[in-house]
Amino acid sequence: MAKILIIEDDKDLNAAYALILNAESHTVQSAYNGSEALVLLKNFNPDLILLDLLMPVKSGVEFIKEYAKSGSDHAKIVIFTNLENSPEINEALELGAYKCIVKSWTAPRGLIKVVNDLLSEPLRAQIREN
């Protein structure tokens, strides 16, 4: 089973995603903004990161940029956001995020499918121009 980091400032949603993924026997850690996530990553090396974009302290895009600089950015990143057609989404995808999911439409089965599909997908080189 995989190691997954959830970075989502909405505590209720963060808890729900953790519950669903724990029930699938994944090892899950939660952070509530990009800064907290970077601290957690010193001792946790996830296979997959579920990342919100609009968060206080450090946004999703800022997180991706700093994570890329860390040199240990082995995790696949999937964006969970309620934004749509926004520059933030485009930037996150250009920076190497694999997929973007609209949170308000996500059900547990959908989340599990996205996670399983991405875990089985081969790792691709992430773009790090920044």
């Binding site: 909405d10 209720d12 949603l13 729900a16 995603y17 519950l19 669903i20 029930a23 609009l54 309620n82 934004l83 749509e84 057609n85 926004s86 609209v102 949170k103 308000s104 439409w105 996500t106 059900a107 547990p108 089965r109």
Partner: protein, 387 residues
């Protein structure tokens, strides 16, 4: 005597002609939109004050010059619109009125958006020139952008609490909180269904804002329409199965590959099909047909459902309109779906229309030209509702 009469007649003709000319000039000047008229060679023969003000030119800069020397029609990126794509060329060649939105390069090198309406001037059945009305729509574009930005922010804020409602309702439904009683399951279905409709409404409103503001992208590529129909039917067949509706597909011969925007065509078809299923009673039938005609392909969605009453038919593509006979049967519709798809069809250079009889059913038609859809460099892609 005769000579004198002729002289008087010539003088009065001149006076009348000058009077007519002055009246025509006054009429053209008082038009609130820019006006440029050309002869059949594209030489400008008339221009009004609004056109000169909008373009930042003097009358002497314009009259007798070629249209392209005066009116620099460009795309948003500043590249020139090719001659064949100019509305004035299209109107002249087709003999039809052409409406379009594009950009124009002013004499001070600034680019501004314009709305254009060009009609050919016909004499004895032949085009002898064209007349173009145009308007600087910069203020409209700013207003539309503010509206689109507001909708984007509002939809994000609405989706935030909806995400928690939807996710937790699904958690309960999927048994993460333990087993449910039969009644709890019924209550929960109401919450899930309301959350679904709310999500759907937000997506639709966002799409409408984008289409209305003209910021919707049309990105044509070769599309296999047969595969597209199969895909949409597969996507929606569970709704038909729930109502025991017999859903069938029929293809005509030699359906061409059409250069169009697959995402937009899917939205139109999914919407027509979903309506057919929604507004057909249990055990009914829905038939989707795709055929190729002389200049276009035709999608037909035929049902034997409730139909549209005659007095409602002319309003069916209006925003928020719902036919009187279905509000009691299906209270949850928004009246936005057909409005949205009629605008998408137009953006694709296609058409949507229908025939219907109450209690016998409806047939909705959606045509797309063989030559495909024109590319439109909008800011936004359509978000397929619920996808």
């Amino acid at each position: 005597m005769e000579e004198t009469t002729n002289k008087l007649s010539d003088q009065s003709s001149n006076i009348l002609s000058k009077e007519s000319e002055a009246r025509l000039e006054a009429l053209l000047t008082s038009i609130g939109e820019g006006l440029i008229a050309t002869d059949e060679r594209g030489i400008i023969t008339r221009v009004n004050r609004v056109a000169l003000l909008t373009l930042g030119l003097k009358k002497s800069d314009v009259l007798g010059k070629r249209y392209r020397e005066v009116m620099v029609d460009v795309y948003e990126d500043g590249s020139r619109v090719p001659n064949v794509n100019l509305p004035i060329t299209r109107a002249f060649l087709s003999g039809n009125t052409v409406n379009d939105h594009l950009f124009c390069l002013r004499s001070d090198q600034t680019i501004f958006p314009i709305s254009v309406c060009v009609s050919p001037i016909m004499l004895h059945g032949k085009p002898v020139g064209a007349i173009q009305l145009f308007r600087d729509i910069s203020d409209d574009v700013i207003t539309d952008n503010i509206k689109a930005d507001f909708m984007s922010i509002a939809s994000h804020q609405l989706r935030t609490p909806l995400s928690a409602i939807n996710t937790y309702a699904h958690l309960i439904n999927d048994g993460y909180g333990g087993p449910l009683t039969a009644d709890s399951k019924i209550f929960l279905d109401v919450i899930l269904s309301a959350a679904y409709r709310m999500n759907e409404l937000i997506d639709t409103l966002l799409n409408i804002t984008r289409v209305e503001s003209g910021s919707l992208m049309v990105d044509p590529a070769p599309v296999n329409l047969k595969n597209l129909v199969k895909h949409i039917v597969e996507e929606i067949k569970h709704s038909a199965e729930e109502k025991n509706i017999d859903l069938k597909i029929k293809f005509g011969r030699r359906i061409p590959i059409v250069n169009t925007d697959s995402l937009l065509v899917q939205e139109v078809l999914a919407n027509l099909l979903s309506n057919a299923i929604k507004y057909t009673g249990d055990g009914g039938s829905v038939l989707v047909t795709l055929t190729s005609r002389s200049t276009d392909v035709l999608f037909k969605v035929k049902d034997n459902g409730y139909g549209v009453p005659a007095d409602s038919q002319k309003y069916i593509f209006k925003k928020f309109f719902r036919a009187s006979n279905i509000t009691s049967k299906e209270p949850n519709g928004t009246g936005l779906g057909l409005y949205l798809i009629s605008m998408i069809a137009e953006a694709l250079d296609g058409e949507v229309w229908f025939q219907s009889k109450v209690n016998q059913g409806s047939t909705f038609y959606f045509s797309l030209p063989h030559k495909g859809s024109n590319k439109k460099d909008g800011k936004f892609k359509l978000q397929r509702v619920g996808k």
